[in-house]
Symmetry: C2
Subunit: 185 residues, 2 copies
Amino acid sequence: MKLAYILFNDITLLDFIGIYDPVSRLKSMKFIPDLEWDLCSFEEGVRDSFGLEIKTDKIRNDLSEYDAIIIPGGLGTRKLQFDQEFISWLKTAKDVPLKISICTGSLLLGACGFLKGRKATTNFQEYEALKKYCDNVLEVRIVDDNDIITAGAVSASIDLGLYLCKKWSGGEAQDQIRKRMDYHG
Amino acid sequence: MKLAYILFNDITLLDFIGIYDPVSRLKSMKFIPDLEWDLCSFEEGVRDSFGLEIKTDKIRNDLSEYDAIIIPGGLGTRKLQFDQEFISWLKTAKDVPLKISICTGSLLLGACGFLKGRKATTNFQEYEALKKYCDNVLEVRIVDDNDIITAGAVSASIDLGLYLCKKWSGGEAQDQIRKRMDYHG
């Protein structure tokens, strides 16, 4: 299984690292030993809202090769949803079998047209903003609509990561990973 | 107030980003508008256990200038606690008025001799390892020993971040930041 994390300027890093931590443990704790992932971005040198810089693995690469894409949120999504070049790149993930977002990452899924006729959630401050892309915005922490899974704001990223641990490797894997993280949310 | 985050190879990124998110919001939500921080490391190009690379701001800089140092944990601490060059650098923080660690970051505080005669905590799997540096290892999530504050494993980083929000800016700031993060841990 190969994942693509979609990173961008003005990302909220906890949206990303919250899911990255438990999901990466599926590999290090050998539940999915061959799990792989790339950090993908449209521009080189991705920085969060405070200037922290992360090096990405792939720039503007074809996203169709992945088994899942994971899109965190952050202030950057407010502009990127209207950036046609960025959205065109993200649309190369059209046939990826699992599309995942955290927080306002759902606005980017929406701008690609991936949420038409689907149910999804987002940051609790952005429910209205998501409605232009999605007929059925649910005000809950995680929405699993089969090939599209969306989560709420910031710390919901951890819950989504643990949710995926259970979905992909079962409840025992989820329990062991939760304990290792000492997470009680 | 100026903080130093101490980053190193084989860091656990959620240990770092868990505290970084709420503490950074003290600045962006204007509770402490002049809050500043540097990402400091002994080596250039810090990578987590999975190869994710973060660019740091300062390399081997004198840490005595900061108001607080914050040391996350990770597998890297197991070796670094015995790395005399690294520990010598960290000891430049000797007179920093507030020393903070998350998870096994406490082993590094301990290796500097900062925990002699003090109380502290660490990752629940490393209580024994910390005892060689610290007389009073408490098996709890956060230990506030005035100028030394230590937290337990991984996700305790978020709780520690919110704890500091209250300590530095009061309960109302903590509440507002917790809500923005949608955190219920």
